[in-house]
Amino acid sequence: MSAITSEHDDHAHDHKPSGIKRWLFTTNHKDIGSMYLIFALLMFFIGGAMAMVIRLELFQPGMQFVEPQFFNQMTTVHGLIMVFGAVMPAFTGLANWMIPIMIGAPDMALPRMNNWSFWILPFAFLILILSLFMPGGGPDFGWTFYAPLSTTYSNDSTALFVFAVHIMGISSIMGAINVIVTIWNMRAPGMTWMKMPLFVWTWFITAFLLIMVMPVLATVVTMVLTDKYFGTSFFDAAGGGDPVLFQHIFWFFGHPEVYIMILPAFGIVSAIIPTFARKRLFGYASMVYATASIAILSFLVWAHHMFTTGMPVFATLFFMYATMLIAVPTGVKVFNWVATMWRGAMTFEVPMMFALAFIVLFTIGGFSGLMLAITPADFQYHDTYFVVAHFHYVLVTGAVFSIIAAAYYWLPKWTGYMYDERLGQLHFWCSLISVNLLFFPMHFVGLAGMPRRIPDYALQFADFNAFISVGGFLFGLSQLIFVWVVVKCARGGEKATAQVWEGAEGLEWEIPSPAPYHTFDTPPVIK
């Protein structure tokens, strides 16, 4: 395959390298995007299986199936895998696939580094999962690895967790640099900033957040490593440190991280709603500014995770009000999505259904977030299932639903075939019902005081927990339908047109389906 192509041999250029080398050595953004997405799906099921263990143990009060320490490992690794292994790689996969096409670029800006970013991830998660089989077990301190749980009281394998997180971070930073440089430097002539699709905009801001905060995660795991193994006392008051310092550094990373997992979702929904409402997105510019505002505010709210640590009152007040401020740009977004649909000629294909569910259910998660932001109320909610309900509404019915919506939306473009609409609708309705059975009652048990991350609970919570577990198993099973749809769609079906969806606009719908191996070797003309 020659590196320099003339404009005439685009078809000759379309042949793909074959065999395993295609995937190991690839520099193609579509191949790398596919690998990210498949990896994320695999991790979604591994992390999901751990959630099933958690729900199995919590199905009835009392200790039934697993030891408490193993239960802790399941909650920890479930969280780590879902955040770093499922949601983030899925968004990166979508970015890889769609951003170069959406801005009319031939590939990502740094194609080899792109491949490196991906291939680090399977190895990082291999280390993390292998650490579960170490003597003494794997990480059991929660995905937030608070000191001193992760230092004084953690088991031997913590060093493996630390280094696994380090290389995940390297992967994320390189991926983010690639995205941000691609968007900045690779736009086709005429693709001005304010013409970019919102998915590109949201990813641009997400990449900025990643570059800013992943290094902070690296510092905090480094301090955990030195505190545990090298005698430092960053998080030990006897040596002049403070365990609360851990929480400050962690959440300075952790809160922007939350937006890293939701801003691309906003971009996806902003692509899908206009397509199926057959109207242009309402308030494009305000969407861009709202995204940027959320990103800036995300650096100023981290301590709302720490209201119960005994911070000075002025600090809690500052973080409370700053947190509530985020509801404003988020509200702008929800308003714009609803306004886009207003008097639209709507149809309800599967991507649209997931996007609609996203708007409603993400908003529920947003509202419970506002409740949690109220400092005095948070004293009651802190560390209860109410928090679990809140972040699963924003992450599962928010981020994960948007990823599923994106997969249905772009699958025809990726495979060249339409997915099975009836199976997709079945998947949607099963997911929608079961996910609410799963997470909605968590609000109630949380408000009643059921603590999170504990393998047993008071008898008064028994009925709700049985209910929640059934919802969990159903939600897990429902996702098998998704795999079925994806596999079926990859193997064949009704041929997709280039535009795929009647109301779809944008460069990705002007190239054939399936998208050729190389697109836009020649920059397109942007009207």
Binding site: A3, S131, V181, N185, P215, V216, T219, D242, H248
Partner: protein, 292 residues
């Protein structure tokens, strides 16, 4: 399309990324096991795996950069490609800035908040009275609440000399850059070589300072929050200086081979940016760790 444009070079397949991923796996898995075995005072495969990983990483970097340099020298890179590299390097340096910012943040928190609270400030009178009534908050933290004692590293000896050396090295590097821009190859070679020598002197003095701290001052990595922040900040800075020096060393070899033109010299530019960045970090370090 009648308008002409430069092709953006998309490389064909490359084996280096997967080699790099294997290297990082060996490094992470090996380092993890090495640390675990060390803490349990047993021997294992960790150290060897770590070394293997580092060897693979070096092999990968050499191969990868050889490819990139060949592509660059054969003129495959457009000015747009050059911009991609420059922007990529800038964002990478921003991530490094954040890495150090977090450590500085920890330093400030420990010094201005944690230490004062342990001494009873704010609403922590009882913390002080009950936990460590003898603890006196003062910076540098020479006696921890738990009772570990150490001595402070004075600023106006070796550290001040090191500061001067590093600042001068940034200036010589700047003159190397002007030499490159004005096509004065002699000035370029001399100034770049001088920068490397100054960097090496800095690292040697820094190593000597560590020996001095451990042997004479009893200032150790584990001697409380002052020692923690001292060694992690200066240590990570030292690692970055080493990395910057290695980059500049390879740039130096390329200069000797006649690479780089006034118009195109991304590798030089990147190495220079990185060097100036570690210099700025050091100036912050000098003030916040040593002087104040």
């Amino acid at each position: 399309m009648s308008k002409t444009y430069e092709k953006y070079y998309v490389p064909a397949q490359s084996p280096w990324p997967i080699v790099g991923a294997v290297a990082l796996f060996c490094i992470a898995f090996g380092a993890g096991h090495y640390v675990i075995d060390m803490s349990k005072q047993q021997s294992g495969f960790g150290g060897w795996l770590l070394l293997l990983g580092l060897a693979i990483l070096v092999f990968m970097l050499v191969g990868w950069f050889r490819n990139v340099i060949e592509e660059s020298m054969t003129g495959l890179y457009s000015s747009q490609m050059d911009r991609s590299f420059r922007q990529g390097m800038s964002w990478f340096i921003l991530s490094e800035v954040m890495f150090f910012m977090a450590f500085f943040g920890a330093l400030f928190y420990g010094r201005f908040i944690a230490m004062e609270w342990l001494g009873g400030a704010s609403n922590n009178a009882m913390t002080h009275a009950i936990l460590w009534p003898e603890f006196l908050p003062s910076w540098p933290l020479l006696k921890t609440p738990g009772g570990i004692e150490t001595q402070a590293m004075p600023a106006w000896g070796l550290p001040a000399i090191n500061t001067a050396i590093l600042i001068i090295s940034s200036i010589t590097l700047h003159f190397a850059h002007t030499g490159l821009n004005q096509n004065k190859r002699g000035q370029l070679k001399f100034m770049l070589g001088l920068t490397l020598v100054l960097g090496a002197i800095f690292l040697c003095l820094q190593g000597y300072e560590y020996v001095h701290a451990y042997r004479d001052l009893g200032l150790r990595l584990d001697s409380g929050f002052y020692g923690n922040t001292f060694f992690l900040l200066t240590g990570f800075h030292g690692v970055h200086v080493t990395l910057g020096a290695v980059i500049l060393l390879f740039v130096f070899f390329r200069v000797l081979k006649g690479h780089f033109t006034p118009e195109k010299h991304f590798a030089f530019q990147a190495g220079a940016w990185y060097w100036h960045f570690v210099d700025v970090v050091w100036i912050c370090l000098f003030f916040f760790v040593y002087v104040l």
